[in-house]
């Protein structure tokens, strides 16, 4: 066969392939665009949305109470019960809608400057879930002024205070709790605060003993205490953290806070494959989807792509409505998945105005270092020195920081 003819057929072949590719790309885009915009689905059985099935016992109870409340509008007891159940689902599923329903159920007490104590405590817990820590504290302090021995109010106040970096107030609330009811909750409360204010060793030993010797029969409380223990161990660089996280999840396997914390630990330990396994099928929760995307990046799996896109869409949707629930995660997303240190730093700075836990400090510092921002680096360094925080990861980062 003459060379020129051979070449020619090769050229034609490649041309056909190139046009086939273009056609394919065009068709694929068309399909994608049909899915993306509003349309009338051709198939009636197409599932558009998953919700909790009717059979879910929590939902059944909520439905039952809602019906009862419709019979007795404004009934205080029913309202309190229903709102508290709605809040529980909201927290357990990390679903702001249910937190919103709880607020709706408390509508007639929501604007009340001085509602009865049980309503005020529940309102504070809803505000805490919405990250309105200032308003939550105000309610809790008002409650404690009337009922100084209110266990829940002390516990929530300790949590809110610790989150916002007010360690003195947090410690005082834990002390009161220990005085009123010295149970595992009080020990965990004290240990959590002590561990970030210069007494990590003592705190660890006290809490390890308490969780082993006097475990709570309430699985969510036991899970919470063990997660605090795991986090203390993690900050001390103690490999026992892994065991404590596993024990915590054994007590309450679906706890989102613990799943998130353990996933972060595994990512730090360069064990991304375990994150993928741990969080499989839990991608509807933003915090967990972020960890899945980070794990996919670390394992080199190409599936990280759609997750990044999806996360960006969710943060965008939250921002459109002016919500600030995602600041820390969004900052990490910008820093680690989008490689936008300036944007990450801005979000971390906003987050730092709202909450100041060791995790917030780590992220703020990481963003400040990536963006070469000396003043922000200095803020975290000063904060770390003033609290006496023992956190190996943070110390390591600060040691390398150009200060």
């Amino acid at each position: 066969m003459p060379d020129s003819l051979h070449q020619r057929s090769a050229v034609i072949q490649t041309r056909t392939k190139a046009s086939a590719f273009l056609l394919l790309a065009a068709v694929s885009m068309a399909v994608r665009s049909v899915l993306a915009g509003p349309s009338i689905p051709a198939d009636d059985s197409l599932v558009l949305q998953r919700v909790l099935p009717t059979a879910d016992p929590r939902l059944q109870a909520i439905r039952q109470k809602t019906a009862a409340l419709a019979q007795h509008p404004g009934d205080p007891g029913l309202s309190l019960d229903l709102a508290s159940r709605q809040l529980s689902v909201g927290v357990a599923e990390a679903d702001p809608r249910f937190v919103g329903y709880a607020q709706g159920t408390l509508a007639q007490w929501w604007r009340d400057p001085d509602p009865p104590v049980p309503f005020r405590v529940l309102r504070a817990r809803i505000l805490q879930a919405q990250h309105d820590f200032t308003a939550a504290k105000r309610d809790l302090k008002a409650v404690l002024a009337i009922e100084p021995n209110h266990v829940d109010a002390h516990l929530v106040l300790a949590g809110v205070s610790e989150t916002t970096g007010d360690l003195t107030a947090a410690r005082a609330a834990c002390d009161d709790l220990a005085r009123i009811r010295p149970t595992l909750a009080a020990t965990a409360c004290t240990a959590s605060v002590d561990s970030v204010s210069g007494h990590a060793d003592q705190a660890y030993m006290a809490l390890e003993t308490a969780t082993a010797r006097a475990p709570s029969r309430d699985p969510s409380l036991q899970c919470w205490a063990l997660t605090i223990l795991a986090e203390i161990a993690e900050r001390r660089g103690d490999p026992a953290a892994d065991r404590h996280f596993k024990d915590a999840l054994a007590a309450s396997p679906a706890d989102i806070y613990t799943l998130t914390a353990y996933a972060d630990y595994l990512l730090d330990q360069k064990r991304p494959a375990e994150v993928t396994k741990l969080l499989a099928g839990k991608n509807r929760i933003d915090a967990l989807l972020l960890r899945l995307a980070l794990a996919a990046r670390d394992t080199g799996a190409a599936e990280a792509g759609p997750d990044v896109e999806e996360l960006a869409a969710r943060y965008e949707a939250a921002r459109t409505r002016g919500e600030q629930l995602h600041l820390r995660d969004e900052s990490r997303f910008e820093l680690e998945l989008r490689h936008q240190p300036q944007r990450a730093l801005e979000l971390a700075r906003q987050n730092w105005e709202i909450q100041r836990t060791p995790l917030d400090a780590r992220l703020y510092l990481a963003a400040a270092l990536a963006a070469n921002d000396a003043p922000a680096t200095r803020i975290v360094a000063d904060w770390s020195a003033s609290t006496g925080l023992e956190d190996r990861t943070l110390r390591g980062m600060l040691a390398k920081a150009p200060l």
Binding site: P41, L48, Q49, P96, R97, G104, R284, E310
Partner: protein, 417 residues
């Protein structure tokens, strides 16, 4: 090439086939009202999760809301939604007449899309929206409202603290053509992808400038550019009309791919005489990338036509100007060789052969001699040097860059801005 196609195709397909997951976000609805010259229409996207709580959609209680279940409750959905929305015109309340029920996916899951026409007592001089959807159930619900008045968008976030929003309709749409002309200019000047593609597209013609003469080359280049502009005018228009919506990441990957293909053709031609077809085809793809510039403005009517005309004209204007400069330069460089040779004795003759008005390649003064001296090393000794060395080498660099860009967008490494 076959290798290139198969390697680059795989990630693009995985992107396209990825299905949306539904997230847990707080509750929002998206209410868009568009006031045209003739009619006022609206579209209201309400989350199926919220409608499920309000009117009960999951009829069989299995936790899956299907399209069939939504359709069966169409009447209830519309009654519920429109009883929580009042839109007032100047002379009294308008009536919303539902025209269609569709489905869509947003970041947090499935939405029912309610389209409606607005019937007002008189042509309103202002619209007032009163929004009360879901606030009784979920006070954290927000209505994200956009009112477009012949191309000008007004937005508001409505909540229990702020349920109302008013817009006074302006007179004729004035801001239009010129601002979009400028937008077109800005877009091409700041977009590296567009310039890069034009560079690889025109490079062979640039190289042939000496052999074929500047006017013939320029004409060919002008035709290529106009085809390119015409094609992306088509897709930009379709995108602005929301006929097609392509995520930026996919259009960017396609753009990177088209640059890579053209660059590859410069190195080893396989497109043959079909570069004009390619210019048109890739113009279509590039238009998708520009869609984001006009997409969110929600224009319609004459303002849309003015905007699109201005935008596309702006793009074409910059393209032709840049091409003119590039060709003038190429011609100057190509002529340098003869000019330098001739500079010994017959300077005046060379001056007279230059194209009138564009350039005068005779180095008469010391300054000009210095410029010509600086340009001399760049001058292709002959077309072979350009065709065999400079063109393939530059194209290879661009090919590498765009291939990396393509991979970056396809796998979402996002290491590139």
């Amino acid at each position: 090439m076959r290798f290139l196609v198969s390697v680059l195709l795989a990630p693009l397909l995985t992107l396209i086939l990825a299905a949306p997951a539904s997230a847990h976000l707080a509750s929002d609805s998206y209410l868009r009202i568009e006031a045209g010259d003739q009619a006022i229409t609206g579209q209201w996207d309400i989350a199926l999760r919220d409608l499920d709580v309000a009117v009960g959609l999951d009829a069989n209680g299995d936790g899956d809301i299907t399209w069939g279940e939504v359709k069966a409750k169409r009447r209830e959905i519309e009654v519920y939604a429109f009883s929580h929305l009042t839109i007032g015109g100047g002379g009294g309340d308008c009536t919303a007449n539902p025209t269609a029920l569709l489905a869509d996916q947003h970041a947090d899951g499935g939405y029912a899309v309610l389209r409606f026409d607005l019937a007002c007592p008189a042509r309103p001089a202002a619209l007032t929206v009163r929004y009360r959807l879901l606030f009784d159930l979920d006070p954290t619900h927000r209505g994200l409202l956009t009112i477009s008045d012949r191309g000008v968008a007004h937005t508001a976030i409505l909540g229990p603290e702020r349920t109302g929003y008013s817009v006074a309709f302006g007179a004729a749409q004035t801001a239009g053509f010129l601002s979009f002309l400028r937008l077109g200019v800005d877009h091409i000047v700041s977009g590296r992808d567009h310039l890069l593609f034009l560079a690889v597209l025109l490079m062979p013609a640039l190289g042939a400038v000496r052999r074929r003469g500047i006017w013939s080359s320029l004409l060919e280049a002008g035709a290529l550019l106009s085809l390119f502009t015409a094609a992306h005018a088509v897709t930009v228009t379709l995108a602005a009309l929301r006929v097609i919506e392509v995520p930026a990441r996919i259009s960017e990957a396609a753009i990177a791919f088209s640059i890579a293909v053209t660059a590859a053709d410069n190195i080893r031609p396989f497109l043959g005489n079909r570069r004009s077809v390619i210019a048109f085809g890739f113009g279509l793809i590039h238009g998708l990338g520009f869609a984001s510039a006009l997409g969110p403005l929600a224009l319609h009517g004459w303002s849309l036509i003015a905007a699109l005309a201005g935008f596309n004209l702006g793009i074409e204007l910059v393209q032709l100007t840049l091409a003119l400069i590039a060709f003038a330069l190429a011609y100057m460089i190509a002529k340098t060789k003869s000019a330098v040779i001739a500079s010994g004795a017959k300077q005046s003759r060379v001056t007279s052969t230059g194209s009138p008005g564009l350039l005068r390649p005779a180095p008469t003064g010391p300054l000009r001699r210095a410029i010509w001296g600086a340009l001399r090393p760049l001058a292709p000794r002959n077309d072979v040097f350009w065709g065999r060395a400079l063109l393939p080498l530059t194209s290879l660099v661009i090919l590498g860059f765009s291939a990396y860009w393509f991979i970056d967008r396809s796998f979402l490494l996002v290491t590139m801005p």
